[in-house]
């Protein structure tokens, strides 16, 4: 009794229980993705000084937006447009670098803790919880105090702030995967730990890592913003969104455009990333919902 590969049967027509939806992201998430890509383009543009030289003095000080300086000028007469562009670039670069480090570390620790359990799990989770118990900004300042203010402090703080939650979530996902039959079957066949973790656990928690990594990126941007705003992160004359907001804050009453520009961009970045994260989450971790009407 052969079954031809031509007849494809689905696992029943009870709805989308447990199936991976193969549809695209919803429009809102796509908008978020679009915004993010736009910001990345802006950041790349800043590398070639597409909007101008962020350090050059182009005109009178504290001028509102107008020809020659489309986002106004700051207290030294520098055009805000290239400065905001550079700010976007710096912020995105640092946050992304940090999130990549976080993703790698929490993937490693989370999967180990989730799969092995026992003392290793306890150890990792207690360390994580210790980190988690510090308010983000306190942790960030602590790092800056140890490492000295600057880009390294910014990256390190973001890593320390985002690792706990991500590790927890990856661990939870790993626990769920670890008890699935295909993992047991691999163990029964004699697969060793590296193979099980690498071929069976990791690919199946990758979705969680991607989704949480996206959210971590928006947290990272906030942390960098806050740290640089306090003066412990990126140091002027280099611009990041946090630095710009700090500089603009001094002149908020006289020249609001100095703070509105970077502020709006910061909010836009965080919103679009969160919305993208939601879309990714819906795609990778679908929930069955019933409408009761």
């Amino acid at each position: 009794m052969k079954e031809t590969a031509g007849e494809k049967e689905t696992a029943g027509v009870k709805g989308v229980k447990g199936r991976r939806p193969r549809q695209r992201l919803d429009p809102l998430s796509l908008t978020g993705l679009g915004c993010l890509l736009l910001l990345v383009l802006v950041a790349l543009g800043s590398l070639v000084h597409a909007g101008g030289d962020p350090d050059a003095i182009v005109g009178p000080r504290l001028r509102p937006p107008g020809p020659g300086w489309w986002l106004g000028t700051d207290n030294l007469g520098r055009s805000m447009l290239p400065r905001v562009m550079e700010g976007v670039g710096t912020t995105l670069l640092l946050s992304s670098a940090a999130v990549l480090v976080t993703a790698a570390l929490s993937a490693g620790f989370g999967i180990l803790a989730g799969y092995r359990g026992g003392y290793l799990n306890e150890l990792i989770m207690r360390v994580v919880e210790l980190l988690y118990s510090f308010p983000a900004i306190v942790l960030a300042i602590l790092v800056a105090a140890v490492a000295g203010p600057g880009q390294l402090a910014a990256v390190a703080s973001i890593v320390l702030v985002t690792i706990p939650l991500m590790t927890r979530l990856v661990r939870a996902a790993a626990v769920a995967v670890a008890e699935r039959d295909y993992v047991t079957a691999a163990a029964i066949s004699g697969a060793g730990l590296p193979r099980i973790l690498g071929r069976h656990v990791l690919p199946n928690v990758a979705g969680t890592i991607a989704v949480q990594g996206t959210y971590a990126l928006s947290v990272g941007i906030s942390v960098e913003g806050g740290l640089s705003f306090l003066g412990f992160g990126v140091q002027p004359p280099q611009a990041s969104l946090g630095v710009l907001i700090r500089q603009g804050g001094t002149y908020m009453m006289a020249a609001p455009w100095l703070i509105i520009g970077p502020g709006v961009v910061l909010v836009l970045a965080i919103l679009s990333i969160n919305v993208l994260g939601d879309g990714l989450r819906d795609r990778f971790e679908p929930r069955e919902t019933r409408s009761l009407i």
Binding site: E9, K14, G15, E288
Partner: protein, 325 residues
Amino acid sequence: MSALLEVDGLEVDYGTARALDGADLRVAAGEAVGVVGESGSGKSTLGAAIGRLLPRQAVVAAGTVRVAGEPVLDLPPAALRRLRRQRLGFVFQDPIASLDPTMKVGAQLRLVLRAHGRESPGGRDGGRGGGDVAFHLERVRLDDPRVAAAYPHQLSGGMAQRVAIALAMAASPELLVADEPTASLDSQVREEVLNVVFALARQAGTSIVWLSHDLPAVARRCDRVAVMYAGRVVESGPAADVLGDPVHPYTAALARSAPAVAVPGVRLEPVPGRPPVLTGPSPGCAFAPRCPFAEDRCATERPEPVRVGAKDVLCHRAAELEVIA
């Protein structure tokens, strides 16, 4: 006598996949009807449709569902809620999942009772539950007073399912829909739970629609049985009749191929192939590709119900097969 539940020609799609392809069902007041079908037969969709509990992706393409004369699929939200509250009760497969994990059992029961104005004021010790709560739990043979004070996850599967039944029956519904309520329970507990459900329903005059994949178990307890295949009811009639003397080839094959009825040394012949996945109305009889009695017209003409004795059979050759079988 108009039936309590009337489902006529119900067609339901989930996107491009068709779950129900013209399902008919009648349940009279006080009657226990078992709906038997394998996965993909549409029985869960039918059960959900009775209370309009279909997921958002489901689209009703045609047909009607009437409960006590009211058109369930067309009711405005308030009337629908009233219908569900007053006339319908549901019991689902996983008892722990269908109970609120954050509320004690007694509290959940009281919530239901209060909605029906049956709460006796100043009942027994406030924390443990009023007099009515104990009464309803006793009806499902949960006499231990500790049950009312427990959270759902502290109960065993069988006990939790009995709580779910008590909740569903507390409002004295006219129709109880049970979707494989014993699937996750041990055989011993299964018998107890089923005894409770059917005894309670008989006592209260509640009709039961019991969805299951287990034909012999259903036939033993229900008055009537409806067998579903590919979104239609292919055979329905008195339980003993359908099980003992099945006319539709699918029913006959189903009855023959359960491991439980195997005779030592004799190989079971399963129904060859697999149920179809429909992507629209079936052009003919959906069982034709697997049917040993299929003729040419079976693939192109949709069968209509044929009355054979006390049964309704969805088969072009029903009359002949009754004689052959």
